[in-house]
Symmetry: C2
Amino acid sequence: MPTQTAPLAGATYPAPLRSASSTAVPTPGHNGAHASLVQSMQLMGTAIVYPRNTEIFGENEPADYLYRVVTGSVRTYKILSDGRRQIGGFYLTGDIFGLEFADRHMLSAEAITEAKVLAVKRRAINALAGRDPAVAHEVFTLTGRELKRVQERMLLLVKSAQERVAGFLLEMAARTVAGNAVELPMSRQDIADYLGLTIETVSRALSGLEDAAAIEVPTARRIVLCNRSALVRMNG
Amino acid sequence: MPTQTAPLAGATYPAPLRSASSTAVPTPGHNGAHASLVQSMQLMGTAIVYPRNTEIFGENEPADYLYRVVTGSVRTYKILSDGRRQIGGFYLTGDIFGLEFADRHMLSAEAITEAKVLAVKRRAINALAGRDPAVAHEVFTLTGRELKRVQERMLLLVKSAQERVAGFLLEMAARTVAGNAVELPMSRQDIADYLGLTIETVSRALSGLEDAAAIEVPTARRIVLCNRSALVRMNG
DNA sequence: CGATGCGTTGATAACTTTCAAATTTAGTGG
DNA sequence: CCACTAAATTTGAAAGTTATCAACGCATCG
């Protein structure tokens, strides 16, 4: 089914959020908005280090925890019936993941690089949200941002290969502190599975952007955005 | 950005839901779950009839109302910078639309066929949700379903044309009461803009499915699903 | 130094779009 | 109610894009 709208703006919800359904990805990067949630997770949470490419949780497992990336990076994904892998999202330092409307994960999560992850019992956060409206509000903000992200992703998926890659780079750049250089933690295969393309097409799109002088690719994982407006233009 | 998870399962949120961000499409069809919300909307709402192809609300307008389709059908959409139109969702009788996390609509809405629409002040619903936890819960359920739908839509968008069309037909069939016949209120152009394809490709995919004896197309708008398992197989 | 994995590049095939035209359907006016 | 015009849909052929298959380069690591 379709597409886009969510709860009510300007509402106050003293609501039960019991086992609704579905999932959403939290907003990475801008964490200033989640001060109390992040802070609380810090206190309640357990930090675990996952080596590269190891599973953090699997599809259909009970969603008992909420996670926050302390260091490293994480991907969520789903294996489709035809064997393809669709990546749900990338989570960088500071990002929160594992948010679910349902009581089971709809996606699996893996460490892309070695990742230190803070895991907090969902129940604990729920209890906290019950006591602290600010925390509850943060959870909603996360949900809202996630919806927006998924929508933007949908818009990305109807574009051409080069537009998708350009959009991806802009997205990663926006999530990364650095000036114009983006350090990609994920492989070309990860990017391809995120954008619904093949690695060859991703590689060619990057080469094309390089030829167009929009980016530089000193190493495969490091990309310099030389001409952001060109990227924006390509992004659609 | 990416993708999928949302609020916390099994939580109780006495939360402020003020101007978060983003949008989501409510779940059409199965309305049994929203008894009290629907009922309340019935009492509070104003019914308006929109002729075919007229605007119900526009992108960036204040999202002051929540809508429910009484009769007819509605589409939400967004015009992309390159002129293409991306359809956000289709809303059939009983469906609720106009849900937003933000205080302005991210999409425009139009009547596909003449549509009788119930419009209810958002504030009124918020107030009701504040008093009635069941209503608040319904709003969350809608949000959760919407997230799930957007995710499924994302999965659809990375597939082949024929898979997308097959998936679309299954979706519409699931939302329609009728046995195996689906009466499509929308044009091929609407379908194409929903699936990120051209009308020609949609038409050819339908012809292909017809050749494969998976469907019959007595008239352009009426489709009979002869072999559902074939469609499911194609759907991925 | 030879494996092994990852990324790039090339050639070809498959798929989708684009452009064009034929066909059907719907709406209007007589 | 019929005829006619306009719009929508289908179909065909050619062009463009992306996937697939294959080879090559480059780095890391035993």
